[in-house]
Symmetry: C3
Subunit: 155 residues, 3 copies
């Protein structure tokens, strides 16, 4: 029987697992930031969420959108649109046997760019801070996709 633990002994795969876990946890933290802003701004999407703030019409006024909440939600969606492809393409890339140093370079730049992107979105920093950090992460993922397709291509 094969032990699935063998893969985790590979250094490239360990590096991938580390950075993939970091950016996925970072993405999950956006849920907590959304919850924080929903509660402090009293801006909810579901009637049942406002029940603790009063009954009937007095609760209805908390069913609203708030600029800060929407900003965090856009950041969260942007994470889904970018971190999920990184996870998928990065996994295939790690299995393609790249050099450890090249792989680490990809993973570190991506993680750094996405963490910076979150701060650029939430503070917010003036453009093009957010745009550039988005583009860096995007380019890293495309670079890994190129490696996967050139190594594994089987149409």
């Amino acid at each position: 029987m094969a032990k699935s633990t063998q893969l985790i002994d590979n250094e490239v795969f360990r590096a991938y697992a580390t950075y993939a876990a970091i950016v996925l946890v970072k993405m999950m933290l956006m849920s907590l930031v959304t919850a924080y802003f929903r509660i402090t701004r009293k801006a909810f999407a579901n009637p049942e969420d406002t029940a603790s703030f009063g009954k009937g019409d007095s609760a209805k006024k908390f069913l609203r959108t708030d600029a800060d909440v929407e900003r965090v939600r856009r950041g969260h969606l942007n994470d889904l649109e970018n971190i999920v492809p990184f996870f998928g393409i990065g996994l295939l890339y790690a299995l393609c046997g790249p050099d450890l140093s090249t792989a680490l370079l990809h993973f570190r730049i991506f993680a750094g760019a996405r963490i910076f992107h979150t701060f650029a979105y939430l503070i917010p920093l003036p453009q093009p801070s957010r745009g550039l950090s988005w583009a860096v992460g995007y380019a890293v993922t495309i670079s890994m996709a190129y490696k996967v397709l050139s190594k594994a291509l089987y149409l």
Copy 2:
């Protein structure tokens, strides 16, 4: 040559594959629920989707948002935000060689919490039903991420 079928002989990986497939299929079912509510509530997002209900202005009135449709869509997005990190971190976790019983505990609690979350969102149940089921799934994923980072850490 390595057979990729070896991994699937590992019991932890089989358990992961089972629960990951279940929650991903559950997430996909949200598309059908959305379609059901869009058709029964006659609330569409695209002009071309309303063509079968009439021409011109008589069709335009179906281009609207509906409270039930939006509720399902929020549930679907919440699944994306939580089930996708579970899939990713759970995969890395399964490859880290955890005890079978510990792994099963994580997978079963997560799947149960997310299935309950869907009912809590769609019925809807009074809070904190939905909030708690969300938190349980979130905590399970963080617990697996902790294991991955402590086992595989390679920065």
Copy 3:
């Protein structure tokens, strides 16, 4: 020590890696299409994004939604809802050791259906073009999930 490069020597896994990378890159291209429409339609979601179009009130008018931008964003979200489950379930499916020809059939139909879906959404083509291409991709993923559950089931 296991080499993680072994998996990539398996033909089914290579086929999976190829088509998974193709549809993930296709999904990422939606970000560029969104950016293109946001810039040409001058319709932005963040105040800091409009700064280059003027100061104060003259920039505020670009903080708006645009029908073309929203259409691309719906297409992007639909990709997340469908391509991400394909990636996850397809990975487990590829590890279940299916026949190469059966696996290729699944991957090719899915990739073709989703590429057609994007054109059907963006042009847009009259229904049921988009609905049918969505259903084909959905059915392929469910078929793979059935294979995974019947092969790996461990509850």
